[in-house]
Amino acid sequence: MKAGRPAFPEWVRRLPEYLMIWVPLLLSAAHLVSFSLWTIWISFTPSTLVPVTGWVGLRNYSAVGASRNWQIALDNLLLFGISFVVLSAATGLVLAILLDQRIRGENVLRSVFLYPLAVSFVVTGTVWSWLLNPGLGIQKLVHDLGWTSFKFDWLIDRDMAIWTIVVAAIWQSSGFAMALFLAGLRSVDADIIKAAQIDGAGPIRMYRRIILPSLWPITITVVVIQLQFAISTFDLVRALTNGGPGIATQLPALVVYDLMFQRSLLGRGAAAAVLMLLILLAVLLPYAAWRYVRRRRSSHA
């Protein structure tokens, strides 16, 4: 690229850079778009074991919509999604604030809260299924220690089982929320804090008035990432409750996999997947709009 060399045409000279930029991005975008379109197409076909051509209109969609599994899965998603996102964000925030108090052993403690992220969902699900099973885990331990009226049987309780998934999911992923919040706390301008202290603001007021409001953008990021986690939760539930007791803890991702591969109803599974995508879009579009507005505002400022 040195000057003085015989000049190549501009585009030849810049070819490597075009390739480096476009090939990976286009491959990634192409696979996402084509896979989504493919799934949408399959959802209108009578495919069962393998993809086939044909047209059944909305029959797959009405079959999915009418199934009890899907209805329960949607209810659960609403409950699980909201409670998990709120509780894991809250846990992450509290942990981040506590870790930000210049405490000793911060490195060790941070590792303790982060390590579940390193563990696979299957392992998390399996281990929590041991701990939460009343006949094997915590309840049995407490009984063996002598407190025999102790009861902790959410795992086998239809109404409470979904909360076991919330517990395991919080354990697994609130470390990520903590890391993000901690990152946010560390980037709050030290001068502003100093100034507030000079004004005589106490710690609680300082958090309420200055620090927490500055965490707002991070909170949105945390919420979106955790929501995405909630919607695609699959391995964890499969290992922890496998949708039970009965079908009480079905979730959309579980239903999609079940229909597509276990029941060999590819068309219906694809329809469920498309419905899931629509739910995702319903969550993501407002977020994208919010980001857009925010960017516009900051570029105008």
């Binding site: 690229m1 810049r14 850079e17 480096m20 930029i21 990976p24 991005l25 286009l26 491959l27 990634s28 975008a29 696979h31 996402l32 896979f35 989504s36 799934t39 942990l95 506590l98 870790l99 930000d100 108090q101 210049r102 490195n107 590792s111 303790v112 809260f113 390590y115 390193a118 563990v119 696979s120 969902f121 299957v122 041991w130 094997l136 885990g137 915590i138 049995k140 331990l141 890391a179 993000l180 901690l182 990152a183 980037s187 804090i193 202290q197 710690p203 300082m206 953008p217 991070i218 995405q228 919607i231 699959f234 991702a253 597509m260 591969f261 590819l266 694809a270 997947a273 995508l277 993501l284």
Partner: protein, 285 residues
Amino acid sequence: MRERTFAPSRVLIYLIVLLVAAAWLAPLVVVVLNSLRTNEEIAQGSMIGWPQHLAWSNYAAAWSGFCVAETCAGIRPYMLNSALVTIPATIFSTLLGAVAGYAVSLWRFRGDTWIYGIVTLGLFLPQQMRLLPWTIVLRDIGLINTLAGLVLIHTIQGLSFTTLFCRNYYVAIPHDLIRAARIDGAGFFRIFWRIVLPLSPPILIVTVIWQFTHIWNEFLYGVTFTSGQQQPVTAALIALSAAVADIPQHGVQSAAVIIAALPTLLIYVLGGRYFVRGLTAGAVK
């Protein structure tokens, strides 16, 4: 709060943090204890308990003893398979994501917002939905049942995350720096190499940690697109847990879980500090 305050409140803070930490560690402790108990001991008692004798043999069995059908080599060969997929896929997706993130944040070109938007949507496309399309793609390019096929899948899927995080990080690099370099005649790669890459370690550590753990822990593609001897470590773990017609091998299973999780645990423990630092610098814009 950055200032040291008076003692009682600090005692309370330590108390809370230590309690939560204990709760967070409990599952690990249970698995470690179980890895030192024999299968019979666990079967006859509870899942939570103190080892009667330290059954180190569980680790020997997990590492190189237990059988997956004809192959009685423990978890060892599967660890190698996972490494052969995870390491290249992590490197490729991180590097390509860094270049892409750099291009869309600092270099700007026609259509960058659109393509960036689509690529990041990939974070949200469910795994299960992509299984069959990948089957067709791998068939058509002849990479089914090869580790290269898995590397390709994880590289392309990983780009969504790495591009997003790198882009968010690079946005904060002052544009004047780039502009000045361009006026000096530096090209795309030179600026990347000389200016952007030296600033990147914090965010690259985040993406490497993220990609490594996700690919290492992946199961669905790992068993569908490999054959017998090439399966990833997660397949061997499932083989230990899913024996329908056998007594549960909880002792050996626990030992295998710990061995299989060592690489990712190590990466989080060693990289945890940088993880937060990298996020501070990048991910939250």
